[in-house]
Symmetry: C2
Subunit: 227 residues, 2 copies
Amino acid sequence: MLTQTAHATPLAHQPDIALSLHRKGRDESPSLGVLGIAMSFGRNMEIYAEGESAGHVYKVVSGVVRISNLLPDGRRQISAFHLPGDMFGFEADNLHWASAEAVTQVKVIAYKRRILLAGGGSTNLGRDLLHLTLVELRHTQEHLLLLGRKNALERVTTFLLDMDKRTKAGSVVELAMPRHDIADYLGLTLETVSRMFAELKERGLVRLEGARRVHLLDKQQLTSMGA
Amino acid sequence: MLTQTAHATPLAHQPDIALSLHRKGRDESPSLGVLGIAMSFGRNMEIYAEGESAGHVYKVVSGVVRISNLLPDGRRQISAFHLPGDMFGFEADNLHWASAEAVTQVKVIAYKRRILLAGGGSTNLGRDLLHLTLVELRHTQEHLLLLGRKNALERVTTFLLDMDKRTKAGSVVELAMPRHDIADYLGLTLETVSRMFAELKERGLVRLEGARRVHLLDKQQLTSMGA
DNA sequence: CGACTGGTTGACGAGGGTCAAGGACCGTGG
DNA sequence: CCACGGTCCTTGACCCTCGTCAACCAGTCG
């Protein structure tokens, strides 16, 4: 299997490409009985860049993808982490307004945008895309509330609960991303994220097993704090 | 004309309803050759509430609408202001996840959600809705960057430039909403918003004509500051 | 005229950012 | 096997931006 090695400066866009069919079944996401291209990206590799033309839409097969925007001076905001099964890369026009990068080793399937949009105008497909986009929109609005009005502890708590819910691994959250990415997602600094983890640990709400594995000990109380 | 008077606690949901056809032409928004119901709301009246079932989708005819979410303790985040021509009220499922209120006296046209979604499955309409939603999503992600990474002065500057662009009234921005709403949109307090206006005035970038009218004197520099 | 809503300005403090040092972990190679 | 380098994480000290609290001002309506 062709894959890429990690890269300090994640700028090149040369995914190794393998052709494949999109497997049906074992897959909760919308009905895409369409040909896709399987692609693989190493940690920190760029899947597409802000401003690039948006020829494809992607579905995560394995790994984690981050969607981010930059200010001219380098400040970064991550708008979403996408997990296996999630789709990303839709845009209103033909340009990507954000960039997508692999947080871990990632496999995706890329679908031609034209096929999805024009493709026969299958009503089902169109509705699925609309629904998907609306769900994404709701998540983003929820995140606005977090960034605009929650304090650091609430942000981290909300993040942990959200990751727990999305991965359904029963109170044990495996964080695929480093503190820096969490910080840029939550509108904080990595130091503050670290301190909030420590705070939750001290309060006995959480147990840390290394930096990347978090046991949620009291979801009830975490939930009541998360907002 | 039936309208409602302002209300200190904007909770009641009793819009005065008038039947009307949706006028074609003089209207850039998507092709909705569909019957709608014209409704009128007084300042601070609720158009729909968080958690309410989402039977309709709305288009602003006149006035300004705010979309907001609340935390249990009352902290509020406004995710968008909608101006004439804008649509709002789409949801992924059948419940409104945010509430919509009239910032000023407002006229809207309400369309039955079922008609828009199921309605013949007209490919054009479906695509329009998807496009609209994607544009909304992009705006929301842009706002994430603002809330997560911009400082107070940058936020206010970005807000003014955005309002200027949307109203196309040549460097004079008419703010329909009070400082408190601007603050809840920008993730600040009303005092900080007021101070940032003062700061922009001191720097000679802006001229204030009363609290609600702002002349943008140096858009170039404002843009470079808006980050 | 007085009451109300909305806006401005000032003094002060706290939450989180910045800067800096050091620790933990991991793969590589001697 | 251990030393080494790199990446990631934690913790502390300090400081700054913005929130809080409060007083006062301006415009509007009855």
